[in-house]
Symmetry: C2
């Protein structure tokens, strides 16, 4: 048994992709903004090649768009795209929930309870980014409890898009305390392992978020 931990071999491409992703979901890079390869490569202190590969990764992940001979741009989300994303999320998360009802271990449930506590903890003090992060973490744990690795991958992609969209408009969580409370019906259904109740609770919870986000995006489009 080795006493040494592995030396990090994360290649440049992955590192760059991560940094760009972070910049996008935190709103540091704004939708529609152009990603100039040369400029980025200079900032990262690398050549253009790794930047291009990283950008391609993000493209297939839907975070940036690519136009031949014109380059990469931070993806813009329309209201209808956001509607689609949330609609897909409903299907995905309800499915995950049903699986979780059958498969979740006691440890999974305990972790969820703990995460719910963290949600309450964010009320009043944490930044909005932290609130968003913890909220997503809760829902991700439900997907995790489904035991389906492929499902989580899709969910993570969706989550990234949602975060990018939400950060864009900022104002979603007007009341953190209330935000945490709306998760209670979900947690309760999970405790009871009641599939039908969980489906209902999740569907309602996500639909509310969908309505809010879509409405904001429609507002945004009207203004533009």
């Amino acid at each position: 048994m080795s006493v040494f931990s592995e030396v990090s071999t994360t290649d440049l491409v992955t590192q760059i992709a991560r940094q760009i992703t972070e910049a996008i979901v935190t709103g540091h890079l704004k939708p529609g903004e152009r990603l100039t390869e040369l400029q980025l490569s200079r900032e990262f202190g690398t050549s253009r090649a790794p930047v291009r590969e990283a950008a391609r990764l993000l493209e297939s992940q839907g975070l940036v768009t690519f136009s031949p001979r014109r380059g990469f741009f931070v993806r813009t989300f329309s209201a209808s795209e956001m509607r689609d994303i949330y609609e897909l999320r409903i299907g995905l998360e309800l499915h995950a929930g049903c699986l979780a009802v059958e498969r979740a271990t006691e440890a999974d449930l305990a972790a969820l309870e703990k995460q719910l506590g963290r949600l309450y903890g964010t009320a009043g003090q944490a930044s909005i980014e932290t609130q968003i992060f913890e909220d997503f973490a809760f829902h991700r744990m439900i997907c995790k409890a489904s035991g389906n690795a492929r499902l989580i991958r899709v969910y993570d992609e969706l989550a990234t898009e949602m975060r990018a969209g939400i950060t864009l408009i900022g104002k979603i969580y007007d009341d953190p305390q209330r935000m945490a409370e709306t998760h209670e019906p979900i947690m309760e259904a999970l405790r009871k392992r009641d599939e039908e109740q969980l489906r209902g609770a999740l569907r309602y919870h996500i639909a509310v978020a969908q309505d809010a986000v879509v409405a904001l995006f429609e507002e945004l489009e009207k203004g533009a």
Copy 2:
């Protein structure tokens, strides 16, 4: 109005990615096989750069895996991964079906009927690749009828993985005629726009396929 059709500007990367994908799903490139950049670039008559970018695309799509300093390999599927893929497909397609029940136009339904006819048409004469293709086309049309573009993107990714897996083992559709017939309950539910019946029919249909594929993969793993 222009009389000229657009000149194809598909860049090298996309072309290469398509060709590699095709080679994988048709079994021309076998799982676990190494993708040597230099060799591929010579075959395509390009340099390594576009090949690398294409490979990265396929990686995030899950068709190839990437190991730093070792290169790209055609993805191998385990039985449990296949189970996850089909399990996710169930969630996805049932959700799509429910949406389709509400939203499908008469034209959508007519197209589905036509596609069902094509399924019968493949019986007896078409190659197994054609049968698989037409089968997937039918299910894709259900997703299309959901009107959710994001959902289709995920479905297409899953379909690619399923095709890659199925081609690997080859023998799934032992009786094309019967394969076509098993789609009848689905079509019937769509005609009646009966959500519950559609969910049941789809779930059963896909679960049968899942059982067959997973069993074959488990067989394969035992042998190896």
